[in-house]
Amino acid sequence: MARVGIESWPVLRQLTGTDRLGRGEAARSKRTDALVARTEQADRVVSSVCPYCAVGCGQKVYVKDEKVIQIEGDPESPISRGRLCPKGSASKQLVTSPGRQTTVLYRRPYGTEWEPLALDDAMDMIADRVIEARRQGWEDTSGGKPVRRTMGIASLGGATLDNEENYLIKKFWSALGAIQIENQARI
């Protein structure tokens, strides 16, 4: 349908074509003629699951140039049949929102502002602190009974995480002897 030069002037198309009133065919712009759904241009489409609630609606994630360009319901899911609620429908914004914090921030004790911190440094600092807090809170026994645990470290969260993540959390914290491992199931 590509038209060039004067031929692309809709008035001419009105006069020569089937759309005398210039309300449809003749009024189309080049951009309109070239329009395609952006999902068509995705480099890949990945099957996913809505991250909000426990219904577990199926999602299709469209990626182009390493950016998420669309997330919508997966019609093949027998759970959701392609539908999503407002939260599920906002998933793309959850992932791509400019307000999302994507760098490490550090607040020193009694500090009044955030400071930047390298991820690697943060990991080292956290590792050091875990080891120290673990020892500080260590109990070989409690009330005369062996407990082999630390009360110095606690952890909260899990309902938004993957099973695999919860598994590593529980596994590693338990090996460290931390018991105050909790998540949303308690609230």
């Binding site: 089937t18 759309d19 309300r23 449809g24 065919e25 759904a37 919508e72 319901g73 392609g82 429908s89």
Partner: protein, 279 residues
């Protein structure tokens, strides 16, 4: 041209110059199964990358969007109704009506007719769409729409409204809002099928005793030649903020031109008459 302005129109896309167009695409919004989740609003925004519409509580039940507009192409209305309470009647008397409104993609679309640039155009699916590369923001469409649908976004200067996801339709996908709708309150498809389905649903509801159920926009003989987006409502249209009997303004356009012609002649005649005198 008469038929192009008013009354039933067998093939809307053909009337707009398309040869052998696909079936007319439409919406049937069955508000009796709407749960007011607003997935349609959000899905529309995500797909069309529409900016937010401000963050203010309206105090109008759970509706904080208020109305359709340049940055809200689906709008869910919430209407709380309480009948006079009877003794011992606990709750049956409270109704909470929810309805997702959208551009009607009118058979005779005033917005389109008045658009001076051809930015608004009729697609091969018989829908009405703004071409954003064309619109110069004259805002004529805004005043022409009898449903108060289309509006100009002031920071951007152009007019915006539902496109019935023209880009998706072209690729054989259904509109984002219809796809998201959890309860299928929004159904998308060939308009003829939807009309039939709407009649069927209406019959079912009437048989179930929901006497107040009615269709809106399905009548080809109405003021806009029937809409491309039908609704099943549980109360009068105006309760939902819809005009009860809208008429496309261009129905009267021939008459208007006649009157204007007359006035022009009068003006010319008046001037001429004024030159008839001595001085």
């Amino acid at each position: 041209m008469e038929n192009s302005l008013y009354g039933p129109l067998a093939n809307v896309a053909e009337d707009a110059g398309y040869t052998d167009p696909p079936a007319r695409a439409g919406f049937f919004t069955d508000t009796s199964v709407c749960i007011g989740c607003k997935a349609c609003e959000v899905a529309c925004k995500e797909w069309n990358a529409i900016p937010d519409d401000g963050f203010a509580l309206t105090g109008m039940s759970y509706d904080n969007t208020g109305a359709l507009g340049a940055s809200t192409w689906r709008h869910v209305a919430f209407i709380e109704q309480t009948a006079p309470r009877e003794v011992g009647d606990s709750a049956g008397s409270t109704r909470w009506l929810m309805a997702s409104d959208v551009c009607k993609h009118c058979t005779h679309a005033a917005c389109l007719d008045v658009c001076p640039t051809g930015a608004l155009f009729r697609t091969e699916f018989s829908t009405v769409v703004v071409q954003q590369d064309i619109c110069n923001g004259c805002a004529y469409c805004v005043s022409a729409c009898p449903y108060g649908v289309i509006d100009r976004r002031e920071d951007d200067g152009r007019a915006w409204k539902c496109t019935m996801c023209y880009d998706r339709l072209g690729d054989g996908m259904e509109p984002a809002c219809a796809k998201a709708c959890p309860t299928d309150s929004i159904q998308y498809g060939p308009l003829d099928e939807l009309r039939a389905r709407a009649q069927e649903r209406l019959g079912d509801l009437h048989r179930e005793g929901v006497a107040e159920a009615r269709l809106y926009g399905e009548d080809e003989n109405d003021g806009v030649g029937g809409t491309g987006a039908l609704f099943l409502l549980l109360d009068e249209p105006e309760a939902y903020g819809l005009p009860p009997d809208p008429v496309v303004t261009t129905r009267d356009l021939p008459a208007m031109w006649k009157w204007a012609g007359g006035a022009a002649l009068a003006l010319a005649g008046g001037v001429a008459a004024s030159f008839l005198g001595r001085r």
